[in-house]
Structure formats: C-alpha cells, structure tokens
C-alpha cells in the first residue's frame, strides 16, 4: 500500500495495462496526470511528450496508435473541446485511443456521450466513482479500446485527480485480443501489401473498398454492437424502492453512501449508478423505474444525464433533477453541493415530495 493521489494511481494503472505513449498539455485538474505519466513512462520503456497544445497531443497519440502501440491522451473538458475533430475522425480511423477527462465537474456529459464532434460517432465512456475503480477502469479502457478498435474515454474529476489514498495497482487479466493486423510499421512498404490507417474509408488503390458511405454505416453498426454488449451499471436497494436516485462518478459514491445511511433508517430509497455513460444503462434505469414512484437525478451540472434517464424511464415515473451547478471560486475544484448532508437533504426532499432546498453558494474568492 502506498499513498497516491488518483492521478498517480491512474498513470500507474495505464502503464500496468501496457500503455506505451502519452501526450498531454497542462490544465487543472488534469496537470498531475500528465506529470505522473511524464515521470513514470520512460522507466517502463514508454514515451511521454509534453505536447505544446491539446491538438498536438491528440495528434501524437494518433501516430503512436497507428503503429499498434497502446497510447492515451487527456485534458479537462475544455481541452478536450479542442480535440473534438480528432475524436470524431479517429473513431472513423478505428484507432483504440484512450482519453482521460479530468473534468471540472460533470458538465461534460453531453460532450462525452453524444460526441462533441461532428458526425455519428460515439465512444465508450467509463465513469469511476473512486480511485480503486479508476485503477480498474483505466486498465479496462485499454482493453475495450483494442477489443472494439474505438476510443474509450475515462471520465474523472477533481476528486479522482487529487484525493490521495493508500492503494496498490495490480494488473488485471482480460480475454485475449486478436493481433493488430491493421497497424502500419513500414515493413510492408514496397511489397504491394502496404497498409493505410485512415478515417476516410478508402483502402489502398486496387483493394476492394466500398467507400465512405459504406464505411460510415459500418462504424455505426459496430457502435450498435458495443451498445448491446458493453453496458455496465451498479444499483442497490431497488426491490421495494419508492424513490430511485441516479448518479455517476464520485458524486455517485456520495449518493450511494447517503442512500445506504437512509436505508439503515428504513427509507425506501434505491440507487442506480451508471458505470458506462455510453453505452448508457437504459434497461437498468427502465427496470428500476418500473415499480418506483419517482426518479431523482443527481448531477453536478445543470442536468445532462437526465436526458438519458428520461429516455430509459420513458414516462413510467416522474423524473426530477436534484443536482445543480456547484464549483469552488476558481471554477476548477469542488463546490459546496458535494456534501453528504446537503445531498441527504435533497434526496429526502424528493422522497417526501417536499420542495427542493435552494442550492448552496460557494463563498466568492476573487
């Protein structure tokens, strides 16, 4: 056991999963993840480039992936906004990019799950609730990315990045994967069998390739298969729950903690914690809402996942938003709403059909 902040644990987990390349550009609260990769990768035979910008970082990772290595990049949602063109197109290029969003809250849900970029692409989104899960999800991310040849985003936040815990990182086992017979490394140049890794949907001249329309459809069909196979979700106390609370990530851990306590006090409340944000656990949410009288959604933003919750519930029960925007004075950190007592109040208010208490204000600091 070693005292590590989440950023360090995640970097170690990535390296344990065989990540050989990382590139990123500093931005709070992502900076420390970059620092840990920079410190650790060289020792494990990898390379970390302190890229001059986010756009260059994702480009470098693109290159490392194209030759068949495991590679990742990341930033906060703001920096990832700059990478949206690349995320959309790299999905079409079918490269297994792993992306870390050390977000400044939960307001990047749409960006992550709807594809902030152009086009029909979606990529897998894993949302760990604490450092332990982050260590597992990071390794899973690299596996799923290779399994499906699609980007996988790990949605972290200020807490995951900065909380320190005594942990140790143990490598996980996954089902075997096929060889990367699509990767380029130069050895096929001049043989007539040279390869191309491209988002454009064209193969080398003379090889059967049905063009961009067919390629776009094939990607979407793959995404449908992922949606069917890769849903992950945790839930608790649903059987006789009158009230169901849906929350993800670290706030999901707070909610789970509160629901546990309320159950101990006999309140008929359950929870659903989506672990994959895409594919979203629509079925689980639908099932949870079956018998329930009300569904509450707790997000640290204006309410984005609530769309997916509604799409799962589809009118079976009223869906109420009980979260809200909450940040510290800098806008990067943890706001006052992320508080066990306040979350408890809000869940009980919903449960007893009482008016929602007003959101707390953080004390101005500038």
């Amino acid at each position: 056991m070693k005292l590590m902040e989440g950023s360090e644990a995640i970097a170690d987990a990535a390296i344990a999963a065989g990540c050989k390349f990382f590139a990123g550009y500093p931005m709070t609260p992502f900076t420390e993840l970059l620092e840990h990769f920079a410190r650790r990768l060289p020792d494990s035979g990898g390379v970390c480039v302190n890229a001059e910008s986010e756009l260059e970082a994702v480009g470098m990772a693109w290159g490392a992936l194209a030759v068949g290595e495991r590679a990742a990049t990341g930033s906060t949602g703001q920096g990832l906004s700059l990478m949206q063109e690349s995320f959309s197109e790299i999905t079409l290029a079918e490269l297994p990019l792993v992306i870390f969003n050390m977000a400044r809250g939960q307001q990047d849900y749409f960006q992550s799950t709807r594809g902030g970029g152009h086009g029909d692409y979606r990529h897998i989104v894993l949302a760990p609730m604490d450092i332990g899960e982050a260590v597992a999800h990071t390794q899973l991310a690299f596996h799923l990315a290779d399994k499906w040849r699609t980007p996988v985003l790990v949605y972290g936040d200020y807490l995951l990045a900065h909380v320190q815990e005594a942990v140790d990182v143990t490598p996980l086992e996954f089902e075997p994967l096929p060889a990367k017979d699509w990767a380029v490394d130069g050895t096929l140049s001049g043989t007539g069998d040279s390869r191309i890794v491209s988002p454009l949907g064209f193969d080398k001249a003379g090889r059967p390739s049905e063009g961009i329309e067919h390629h776009l459809r094939a990607i979407v069909e793959k995404q449908d298969r992922i949606a069917a196979e890769e849903v992950r979700v945790e839930s608790g106390f649903l059987d006789d729950a009158e009230t169901v609370i849906v929350a993800f990530g670290p706030p999901g851990k707070f909610v789970r903690y509160v629901v546990n306590a309320l159950r101990a006090e006999g309140e008929k409340i359950g929870y659903v914690r989506p672990i994959t944000l895409w594919p979203f656990p629509y079925a689980a949410v639908a099932a949870a809402s079956e018998g329930a009288e009300r569904v509450g959604v707790f997000e640290l933003c204006a309410g984005q996942m609530i769309d997916d919750v509604r799409l799962g519930v589809l009118g079976r029960a009223p869906v109420t938003f009980i979260g809200g925007i909450s940040t510290d004075g800098s806008g990067f950190g943890v706001g006052p709403l992320l508080d066990v007592e306040l979350i408890r109040e809000r869940i009980l208010a919903l449960h007893h059909d009482e008016p929602m208490p007003p959101l707390p204000h953080n004390e101005r600091q500038f």
């Binding site: 050989k20 390349f21 590139a23 390379v47 480039v49 890229a51 001059e52 910008s53 756009l55 260059e56 970082a57 994702v58 480009g59 470098m60 990772a61 693109w62 290159g63 490392a64 992936l65 194209a66 030759v67 290595e69 590679a71 063109e85 690349s86 197109e89 290029a93 380029v184 490394d185 130069g186 050895t187 096929l188 140049s189 001049g190 043989t191 007539g192 040279s194 390869r195 191309i196 890794v197 491209s198 988002p199 454009l200 064209f202 193969d203 080398k204 001249a205 003379g206």
Partner: protein
C-alpha cells in the same frame, strides 16, 4: 517502340506506386514531387522502413496510390502524428506529405513545434500557394501579386498581408538539421529536388534532427492559367520569393545570396547536361 541496343533511362513509373492513374488535374506539379520522394526512398533502399503521414489536400489521393505504409492525418496535423509514429518506431523513416494550406495555414504550429523539438522526421511541403483542393484560394504562402481565386488580380499586401517563407523560418530553428526548397518547374529542378529528398532522408537516418523539404509545385487550376504557362508562372511568382536551394545543411543556415549564386550555377549545368543529352544522376 522500344529499341534493343538502347538502355532504358530512368523508370516510367516509381516502383512505390500501386497504380499509374491519379485524379490530379492536367499539368499539376504534385505528381512530380511524388515521383521524387518515392524514387529517393527506393534508391536509398529505405522502402521497407518507410512510413508516410499524409495531410489533407489534392495530394491526399496519393495516400491510396503509394505503396508505402501510411497514416492519413487530419488537415494540418501530420507533423504531430509523425512524431507519435517516430517516437514509437525510431528506426523507421517517417515523412509527412503536406500542402501549404495544410502546413502553413491550418497546421503552422504543428510543423514549427515539431522542428523546434528536433523530431527525427522529414516533413515534405508541396507548396503551390493555394488551397488547390477547395478551389484555389490564397494561402499563407501565396506571394504578392499571385493569382488565386480570391486574388484574381494578384495578392495585395495591404489587404491580405504577406507570405510566410516557411522554409526560412524553419531553418532558424535549432532543432532543424536539414532544410531545402526545391521545385518541379523544369526537368533540372525535378532532378535536383529528388537529391534534396535523399539528403533529408539520410540526415533522418543519422538522427540529426528535424529535416524539411519544400517543393514548389504548379497548380494551373488554382492559379486560373493554362497548364502550359504553369512552370514559367511559378518560377516568376512563387520562385522569386520562396528562393530555391538548400537553406540549411548540417545545421548551418545559408544566406539568400549564396542560394542565388548556386541557383544560377545549377541552371547553367542543367542546360549543358540536357544539351549533352542526359541528366545522368537523376536516377543515380
């Protein structure tokens, strides 16, 4: 008709081409640069280690026709992609193929940062001073007076600003080991440019740092002129500002004067060579 006693001179097609067909316009200079770097790779025996990274422009169609392992990058991003490739495959020969719109407009900072970092990759610029692909608009390299879709009367400095001489800028970066600017407006220039490709790849092989070859190419379509006028028009406009020659060799920057002298000398040599009836070394 082939002639038995005669020996073949050069090759009709570069070996590293999967098909002769390409959809470039008549009189386009880009396929000439393509011939140059493909033959250079073959002649240096680097074929089985070559990895190309292509930008987005008319030359993007070469991604499909080159018999070279290739990574198709987004518009402007090729140098960073090449960086990732090279860092993971240090023994391969990595080169980008980009246009002026791709490299000097959309992705200017990519190539400059890559050069400053001294990445061991070769960036190739096909500079025609226009966005050929999208219809011939002015780029950051279009020279004053040049005809483009949005400057049919010639680029005006007051309204559009001045061209960026990218090769010159890059040559000033410490991370850049070899920087050259060639052209394809006549046979001699084509042969000379091919030698530049070779020097760049060899420097990359020796891990000397970032290497750069810019090639001025004709774009009659984007310049709105007859194909036949392409070479002279290029030489008189782009060629007058983007001075041809080796701008930096073994880490030493050369002055514009030196380049001018050399260009005159080479031109004369070439005349003589052609008159003598043959450019011996274009297929050395």
């Amino acid at each position: 008709m082939t002639n038995v006693e005669m020996r073949q001179v050069g090759k009709k097609l570069p070996e590293l081409l999967l098909t002769q067909e390409h959809h470039m316009c008549p009189g386009c200079g880009e396929p000439l640069a393509l011939r140059g770097y493909l033959e250079a790779i073959t002649e240096l025996g680097m074929a089985s280690r070559a990895i190309g990274v292509a930008g987005i422009g008319c030359y993007t169609s070469f991604s499909m026709t080159m018999d070279v392992d290739l990574v198709q990058a987004l518009h402007g991003r090729a140098p960073s992609v090449a960086t990732g490739v090279k860092r993971m495959r240090p023994d391969s020969i990595v080169f980008t193929v980009q246009g002026d719109g791709d490299m000097v407009n959309e992705g200017l900072q990519e190539v400059l940062h890559t050069a400053a970092r001294g990445e061991n990759v070769t960036c190739i610029l096909l500079n025609n001073g226009v966005f050929g692909e999208t219809g011939g608009h002015m780029t950051a390299t279009s020279v004053i007076g040049q005809r483009t879709k949005n400057s049919l009367e010639g680029r005006d400095a007051q309204y559009h600003g001045y061209p960026i001489l990218i090769g010159d800028l890059i040559s000033r970066l410490e991370g850049a080991a070899y920087v050259a600017r060639g052209s394809v407006h006549n046979a001699g220039a084509v042969a000379r440019t091919k030698r530049m490709f070779k020097r760049a790849f060899q420097a990359q092989e020796r891990k000397e740092g970032f290497t750069f070859v810019e090639v001025l190419t004709m774009c009659p379509t984007g310049w709105f002129i007859p194909t036949l006028e392409g070479p002279d028009y290029m030489n008189d406009t782009l060629g007058e500002v983007h001075i041809m020659g080796e701008l930096k060799v073994d880490g030493v920057v050369r002055t514009t004067e030196e380049l001018h002298e050399e260009n005159v000398r080479k031109a004369v040599e070439m005349e003589q060579a052609l008159a003598r009836g043959g450019i011996e070394d274009h297929h050395e």
